[in-house]
Amino acid sequence: MNQILEWISLHQEMIYVVVLMIFVGIEIIGKVPSVLHTPLMSGANAIHGVVIIGAIIVMGKAEEGNIAALILGFLAVVLGTLNVVGGFVVTDRMLEMFKKKK
């Protein structure tokens, strides 16, 4: 109990950011029309591709000799990029379809 309290107090700022972000996430989606569910899912999918930043950091810190780390890191960068780029492009294509035609 004591330890948990200490942990909370130590990571206070993080916790505030997390809690507020949860509220923001929930409020923002609010009452989205069902027709947009698929593109919205796809857009959110692209956003969590931000994990690529972790991959870049891991890759950039790996020592020259550490083959395992280099290869795994490289793989992570490729997969992360796929998520980001593919995600945004696919969402854009989908939304193009919904666009009002003149």
Binding site: V51, G54, I57, G60, L72, T81, V84, F88
Partner: protein, 478 residues
Amino acid sequence: MELNILALCYLLGSVSFIIGLKMLSNPASARKGNLVAATGMFIAIVGTIFLYQENGQKLHNYSWIFGGLLIGTIIGTVMAKKVQMTAMPEMVSLFNGMGGACAALISIIEFKHLIEVDPRVFAHLGYAFFSHLDQTKLLIILLGLIIGGVSFSGSMIAWGKLNGKIKDFSFKGQHIFNLLLLIANILLAAYIIIGRPEQSPFYFYIIIFLSLLYGVFFVLPIGGADMPVVISLLNSFTGVAAACGGFLYDNKVMLTGGILVGAAGTLLTILMCKAMNRSLKNVLIGSFGGTSAVGAGVAITGSYKEISLSDAAVIMGYANKVLIVPGYGLAVAQAQHVCHELEKTLESKGVEVKYAIHPVAGRMPGHMNVLLAEADVSYEKLLEMEVANEEFKTADVVLVLGANDVVNPAAKSDPASPIYGMPILEVEEAKHVIVNKRSMKPGYAGIENQLFFQPKTSMLFGDAKKALQDLLAEIRSI
């Protein structure tokens, strides 16, 4: 200085994600919103590559990094550009899996790192002090691994199912089995964190394996038609896994972006279920959908009548207003182009033609909009449910093409029906209803449809594409 600029980049990134997602949830601004989020992502990535420092050290291995980025960008763009419109959900699922795998890989590398740098962590004998931070770190690493792993393998299965490559598979007691898998995983993780046994690396590999396995068995029994919901859920999982990375590196943009998607994705999953009038639990347990028809509700008696192609052609050709209700059947039959042909032919004969679009018609939200847009149907002709329900009153003929649940009046009248409460297209308001499907078999929800037995309704059996082609020929000949 550089770190300060990086902090600003991350702040911009976070804000752009929020604003982008906000804009994405409004039809008018959605496309711009996607661009806003993408721009923020770009800033965050470029910032990280050039400005990131740890203990005064910059990143290296630039060639590896750029190589990876390049390869990923090319493959990602090509895949996203080439995919069929109707295969969108499986594409999203695939990309989602990549994100999950990326998060899991990061955890694996950081775990190795942790052992190498600080072997004490696992030499649980012989030292009194053990750092509080390392335990938190370990917890986060394992969390990222498990969630990322589940998201990866689950997404791959979802992808395969939508592809048609993987079939539904379930055995008795599967839910218990899944639960046990999960518990074993959690216990192992807790043991590593608290007990710090010397064989930790070995247990770590077991956790990887169990996580992947859990993802597979979690998605396998769920009906293929429910995949969009599952993908949305896995999507929010990956968000949380990304947030774990944010915790690990004390990286704000990863944290906020991940949590944002985690929260928004969870709500979106629930909203999706609501739109289909089902609960999330119901979807996950897979009680209806797939082949396991339940057939609850009032037993339906009475007979239906068929209509000949020529009669149908005459009724439609001489009508003032025809409304078309497209459904899942139209999508599987790939009949959207013929349908557009039919529309043009009727219009050339002076008939007013519009489409009534139910939000969950088909197998993914917005399915019909995407499909008809692909066939170049003009946007003005697509009526949303509320508008359509007004228009039916003045329509002479409603042509239902491979739709079933979304026109089932039981949703309004029969409280015992599993779809009771779902808003439907009230096609009965029109003068005539012609229903095209292949048989009298039920649709997605597995229930009978009273509509088919009403005096107003006539059935036109056959595959949607074939039937439409024949109908088109008939209409042209009158």
